[in-house]
């Protein structure tokens, strides 16, 4: 049954359209075959080992497990796309980076750091992709929206949590 479990998990993940959490994976098994988390994790571990010789790998992101092609094959797979991989502009990346590292952050704060007005199209595109969301409002006059990132953002960049974002250099003191 053990190897079988890994294969069942493979089949489930290969037909999923988004990452699946342990709970979600467990729900695929009928009551009489109920599987606890330890067993599930073992099955996933086995699957991860088995895929070492395949073109895809098992990874865990913020919202769960997913099977994805290994980086070594991106060279071929990318040709599915007519154009080159989407490249994000600097405005897009800088705005997203500020929201990711500095969340919760307001639009005015982003403008203050970047020194230029926030590009409305960039914010809209980020909201549309569901990479950022409004976390709440800052209780100052105007009640500006506080922006933060979503699980989908983490999933896309293969991050388990915000703590996995790369560390940035600390700001240094002024030389006098």
């Amino acid at each position: 049954m053990n190897t079988e479990l890994a294969l069942i998990l493979e089949a489930i993940l290969l037909t999923a359209d988004k990452p699946l959490s342990l709970e979600q994976l467990a729900s695929f098994f009928a009551e009489e075959q109920a599987i606890d988390k330890t067993a599930l994790k073992q099955g996933l571990k086995q699957l991860a080992e088995q895929t070492q010789t395949r073109s895809f790998e098992l990874i865990e992101t913020a919202s769960g497990y997913r099977l994805q092609t290994k980086q070594a094959y991106s060279h071929w797979v990318i040709k599915h796309q007519e154009e080159k991989a989407p490249k994000y502009s600097r405005v897009f990346l800088e705005t997203l980076a500020l929201i990711a590292w500095r969340q919760p952050i307001t639009r005015a704060e982003i403008e203050e750091i970047r020194g230029v007005a926030v590009n409305a199209n960039v914010l809209r595109a980020l909201l549309e992709r569901e990479w950022i969301r409004v976390l709440g409002h800052k209780e100052v006059p105007g009640r500006p929206e506080l922006l933060g990132t979503t699980k989908q953002f983490l999933d896309y960049f293969k991050l388990k949590s915000l703590e996995d974002l790369p560390q940035l250099e600390e700001l240094k003191e002024l030389v006098m």
Partner: protein, 249 residues
């Protein structure tokens, strides 16, 4: 005519690229500092100000649409420069380097740039990885269609209007729904019957308000070039309405 800053490559036919190349005044300043391997924390303000102004003048000379932020920064640099020139009156002021705030902002922006680069380096879906999927051959069940509540739809409508208003200077204008609804009705009637007499579009039972709504709907459709109105060459000949054709547009 101004000299081009020497070490900036400017494609001969694309001066706009200078502006596009920088994400704003802080980015331009950072570039000027970095290319000379200067320490952000100890910028020679006079020299950097001169170089910065060279760029700004150049952009102005070519009548590039210079964002106001660039001029604000120019003023700030000039102010710092003049404060540095003032004789220092007391010990206390010495600690108060006029450059401090600018340095803090530059560092913060540099960190933002660094974060953006770090983000771009992360392996991501659709570039390094793709989610893999196999086809599924399972008996096609009657998959239930999602259910939607009218309230949900109204909330979605409100959300989209709210967002639109946020991103636009002008409010998305609120039009009475009755007119839009009537526009659809008119179009549906025209699909069933290619030509309708003007009078057929009015229902007297609806009263005055109904007639006004119909008339407004027809005018809206005319304005949008969706329908056209015609009349035979007699004075009191009835008006006819049909879908607009390409020739009539």
């Amino acid at each position: 005519m101004h000299r081009f800053p020497e070490d900036l490559y400017i494609p001969p036919d694309a001066l706009e690229i200078i502006l596009d190349a920088f994400e704003g005044p802080l980015d331009l300043l950072l570039y000027l500092i970095k290319r000379q391997n200067l320490d952000i924390r100890d910028i020679p303000i006079a020299e950097i100000t001169r170089q910065y102004m060279d760029y700004v003048e150049l952009m102005k000379e070519f009548r590039l649409d210079l964002a106001a932020e660039y001029l604000v920064m120019a003023a700030l640099l000039a102010e710092i420069k003049s404060r540095l020139l003032l004789p220092r009156l007391s010990q206390k002021q010495e600690e108060d380097d006029p450059r401090a705030e600018l340095v803090r902002r530059l560092q913060e922006y540099e960190q933002c740039k660094q974060a953006a680069e770090a983000l771009d380096q992360l392996p991501r879906l659709e570039r390094e990885h793709w989610q893999v999927q196999t086809a599924m051959e399972v008996p096609k069940q009657d998959k239930p269609l999602p259910e939607v509540d009218l309230k949900e739809l109204l909330v979605a409508f409100q959300a989209v209007l709210k967002r639109a208003a946020q991103f636009k200077s002008h409010q998305v204008q609120r039009e009475p729904l009755s007119i839009r609804a009537r526009m659809t009705k008119v179009l549906l009637a025209l699909q069933a019957k290619s030509e309708l007499a003007f009078s057929e579009l009015f229902t007297l039972e609806e009263g005055r308000r109904g007639v006004v709504v119909s008339l407004m709907a027809i005018l809206e459709l005319l304005k949008a070039h969706v329908i056209e109105i015609s009349q035979a060459d007699e004075v009191y000949a009835p008006l006819y309405i049909r879908l607009a054709t390409a020739e009539s547009a």
